[in-house]
Subunit: 192 residues, 2 copies
Amino acid sequence: MLTDRSGILEDMARPVPETHQEILAAAARRFAVTGYKGTSLQDIAREVGCSKATVLYHFANKEALLGELMAPAIAVLEALDARIAAHRGGAAQRVAAEGFVDLAVRFRREIALLRGEFPDLLQQPAFAHVQQISERLIDAFAGQSDRPSARIAALVVLAGIAETCAEFIAIPDEELRPALLAVVQRALEPAT
Amino acid sequence: MLTDRSGILEDMARPVPETHQEILAAAARRFAVTGYKGTSLQDIAREVGCSKATVLYHFANKEALLGELMAPAIAVLEALDARIAAHRGGAAQRVAAEGFVDLAVRFRREIALLRGEFPDLLQQPAFAHVQQISERLIDAFAGQSDRPSARIAALVVLAGIAETCAEFIAIPDEELRPALLAVVQRALEPAT
DNA sequence: AATCGGTCTGACCGATCGGTCAGGTGCTGA
DNA sequence: TCAGCACCTGACCGATCGGTCAGACCGATT
């Protein structure tokens, strides 16, 4: 039933009107500055230059907006989770460290907009398994050890990386990533 | 400050009515769970068992409540800042590391209720110099180095400690503190 | 010319926010 | 007995929140 209403876009690259993307970009910008709860739909609409009703025409609700914004990062996080599981018992710690640093550097903006609202937002169904994944990440960082000191070190590193990436939004990737990898290798006990 | 409303309280055991303290305790409990912005004066009043107007009778406004709640932690933080400045050039890094771990462990609850709202709350006049202090803390952790890798490592450790303390609210101090000190010593490069 | 669907909007909704205010209550000192 | 004060409250305020809805606009199809 779909009439591709301009024969020119055979390349199927435009299933979504540009306003949709503009709203997404504006929301990312605002969320990164004032947080999810701290940003109103009005704020986003003002930044786009449209009405609040338009925002809610393109997205079912505020939560759906956040979900679409976080989807790529979550997909990569899930892929990392699978890769860690595949190395269980072997080089899981190294895979987790390198993979998470990569992810954190790449999705700095997404991490920044979750800052501090992580606990609240994890309750939402869209992020249901993210919590489990982060627990498995801590396991991997701790070298699958149950020793409290290992788990504490793992959480320090994990949370520290996330916060640091959110803070250094301007620094180039090539500078941030090796510095993070270095501190991670130093901080994590060799799995005992 | 409260008006000492009669010269008779020589015994200085009751300078503040008990409701005041109950509100303070209830606010600390709620803030730690749902955050500052996420907790309404209604929530606090409900937990105390009084009306919202009573909360605002004892505290000028919500910000004043938070200020009184954070005052002890901030006082200790300022003392640490002074101690670090005194060791400038010498053992500043060690003083900063041990002092901050102590502080973070001791004021876990206070740190937890700032979770993620740190950037917003630092704007408020009550926390004006806290921002400068935390920058000096990073300086000390980085061994006064300007190298980006040193500053990144410092921020990872600082933020990681804070987040970890906020997360492990149940674990006993004797277990948390040495584990944190160990990971800090490992993670921080010897000042080069 | 008529219609139709995608896009967009102003007006509006109920809920909740932090905060104000006039007044009630009960103890205390004169 | 009575004035004064600390304490507490319900009612109320303006602002803002996320979200709904009826309808305006407009290019494409018939």
